[in-house]
Subunit: 422 residues, 2 copies
């Protein structure tokens, strides 16, 4: 095997553990120095390749690379940029080939979700169709847990843990005060298309009456009457009501509730408001309860301080496996997580063809949501619980986590022409 350099990039929304995959990949590539030369990281994902903005990771110390394992965010920058179809958009692909050739890149590692795996799949076609051989390996990552084939996606377990821990804690606060103050608390979490993250909040409950009392899923059309009845019965039975709402909740005709909130604004501010305050308003107007609401937004997906140990380890292992697959001669594949045992939870790394995951969205199974539509079933609990297991604390200094800032030294450009992103 001729020794070639590798390209690695992070794509789509980042997570608390995508850098753990980068760590696994770079550490492993350094061990395979007979097959893999330097690992060049794309600055801001695939855009880094198109713009020939490459970062020379060989200039980073072993300690710095090791620290990626406990550092959230995307150390090389990420992007929301999707390659178009090869047909009719040859320019982008030919540019990629020129950059790869110029820097002797023979491996393409792309770390992201379903859209990003589509990009990886498209790049894998260059070899056959444009005559430039490049080994393409996808690396799974998404907090949304909606990647197909793999049992779960690195990034999800840590958000799930953040949400479950936060709900357990906030519920104790609300319960303490409910007699004379707030009775209803609403937490809005991420999940525009699928309720995986909202579902994970259900892990916070240990027995009947525990929070969350209501989970609102994108999969279940919002029915105001049923919702209000449930809020009311929760307050009557338990003294308070904790609601976890997925940002993607829709009404019975398919409109996002968050958008309805905006529609009611006199100025037509499309993004003002949001789901949590909208739900709070309904509760106040119809039931008169004092409420509070929180929107965890980026806090939930960057919260490395409360990452799941299982998630961190899986993120590392898929990065490592990507290199091992490449060195073994595999191409156009993505490492996946396979659950080999439920109790005790055991998992191993396998792989699947990129075409099986590109642009495929894994839905929350119907049997994960209770008949009533406001909670999770035992099946969901069994699936979700192992994914948040274990703690993996970052190091601290002066009370704050120590996250690494890489030097990110650019690779000298070799191409004369500049490329304009379209």
């Amino acid at each position: 095997m001729v020794k070639k350099n590798a390209f690695y990039a992070q794509s789509g929304g980042v997570s608390a553990v995508i850098n753990a995959s980068a760590c696994g990949l770079i550490e492993t590539a350094r061990q395979y120095s007979s097959s893999i030369g330097k690992v060049y990281a794309g600055r801001n994902g695939i855009i880094g390749a198109l713009m020939e903005n490459l970062i020379d990771t060989s200039q980073e110390s072993d300690d710095a690379i090791r620290a990626l394992r406990h550092t959230p965010g995307g150390a090389f920058g990420s992007c929301r940029y999707k390659l178009k179809r090869l047909e009719g958009n040859k320019d982008e692909y030919e540019r990629l080939i020129r950059v790869f050739k110029a820097h002797d890149i023979g491996y393409f590692f792309y770390n992201g979700g379903g859209d990003s795996q589509d990009t990886a799949y498209k790049v894998s076609q260059i070899g056959d169709r444009l005559g430039y051989p490049v080994v393409c390996i996808g690396i799974p990552k998404t907090i949304d847990n909606d990647l197909a084939v793999t049992d779960n996606s690195p990034g999800f377990g840590s958000v799930a843990k953040y949400v479950a821990v936060s709900v357990r804690e906030a519920a104790l606060d609300v319960l303490s005060m409910a007699l004379t103050s707030t009775k209803v608390f609403i937490l809005e979490v991420m999940g525009r298309h699928a309720g995986w993250i909202a579902a994970a909040s259900g892990l916070a409950a240990m027995q009947a009456g525990d929070a969350p009392h209501i989970i609102l899923f994108p999969e279940i059309p919002f029915n105001e009457d049923q919702f209000l009845r449930k809020v009311n019965s929760s307050v009557k039975d338990y003294g308070y009501c904790v609601i976890v709402a997925s940002e993607g909740v829709r009404n019975e005709v398919g409109q996002f509730l968050s958008a309805m909130s905006a529609q009611q604004d006199a100025f037509g501010h499309a993004q003002l408001g949001g789901l949590a305050p909208f739900l709070a308003q309904i509760v106040k107007e119809k039931l008169g309860y004092k409420y509070h609401w929180a929107v965890s937004d980026y806090l939930q997906r960057s919260a490395r301080h409360i990452a799941s140990q299982v998630d961190v380890e899986q993120a590392y292992q898929v990065g490592k496996a990507a290199v091992e697959l490449a060195v073994k001669g595999e191409n156009a594949v993505m490492p996946i997580i396979i659950r080999t045992s439920q109790d005790p939870y055991r998992w191993e790394i396998g792989s699947t063809a990129l075409k099986n995951v590109a642009n495929v969205e894994k839905k929350l199974p119907q049997n994960f949501i209770t008949q009533e539509g406001f909670g999770i079933t035992q099946a969901a609990h069994s699936y979700l619980a192992p994914l948040i297991d274990g703690e993996d604390y970052p190091p601290y200094k002066h009370g704050l986590p120590v996250y690494v800032q890489l030097k990110n030294i650019p690779v000298e450009k070799k191409l004369k022409e500049t490329f304009i992103l379209t």
Copy 2:
């Protein structure tokens, strides 16, 4: 000294460490069993005393009491209820005396902020003015850090740490994505009257250009032009802008910005919206940047999982000191934290008269805010940094923190008449 029972109650907004004070108090009272009989906790603060709803903490095991140290929320329930002046409202005070007499209560421990210390101070006057001797000790607690005399208030350090950690983490996320996605991130934090919590977010920055780039304080009138200029220069200089906004930010004529957001609503929904989405809207309309916003609300004050070790220890020690002061014969006082050394940080417990802290609000010093009005000074940094130092993790099981649920066994009522809260 005749042995008497003690009454302990939690008051006002709870925190991640108010139960650590309860732990310190109950554990210490158990050591002084020659002076103090049982510790009766008020169910929901002073309301528990008025309604004769007492909890017998002697029925809790040592292990359960020890676990209070790492459990957030208020284990006995809290309340927002302020005793009126003795003049013209003798009923409430005479009721308290009847309850205290019925249960042989000679010690009154009240754990809360400035309003609660006012209640403790009023109760301390019963002895002289209504002829029932009761030892009254306040115990400081407030996430707002606005209690007078004490160097800081237990509860604040943990919120401060939560906010600083969250900003450091979210900033890495935003920075990763800024080229093609979100450029401006807004986190709304608590602090209606004083910017202590918002100020603490400034600890997240290590060097120029680090987040938070803008802190909005209640102390500084909001100037839209200056704000937008600062957002813009941050995006130009660093590629992104992280804003931490105190919920109590007001405009130049003293209106809460969060209320202005509500005023713009077509339906006059007074609580709809909130500050973070309001600021986001300004940024979008005037600068066109893509934004995200979060509101941490109760999550910040219940986040025991990321509590400050210094805060937990101080919370425990003020609970312990309250008992020691009472046993020593002190009355109408509150333990305080005294900073005896800045570098290295050292502190000890002292005390002050309740009248010095009742209804007094400690403001953020002017020299803690930069001239420009959007950041904290070195003086603020020096004051704040030690308060978030050290981690104090709760135990975990199956990936979730194990928080104690006390049995909270009620003390049998002895009074015939019921009391109606007014």
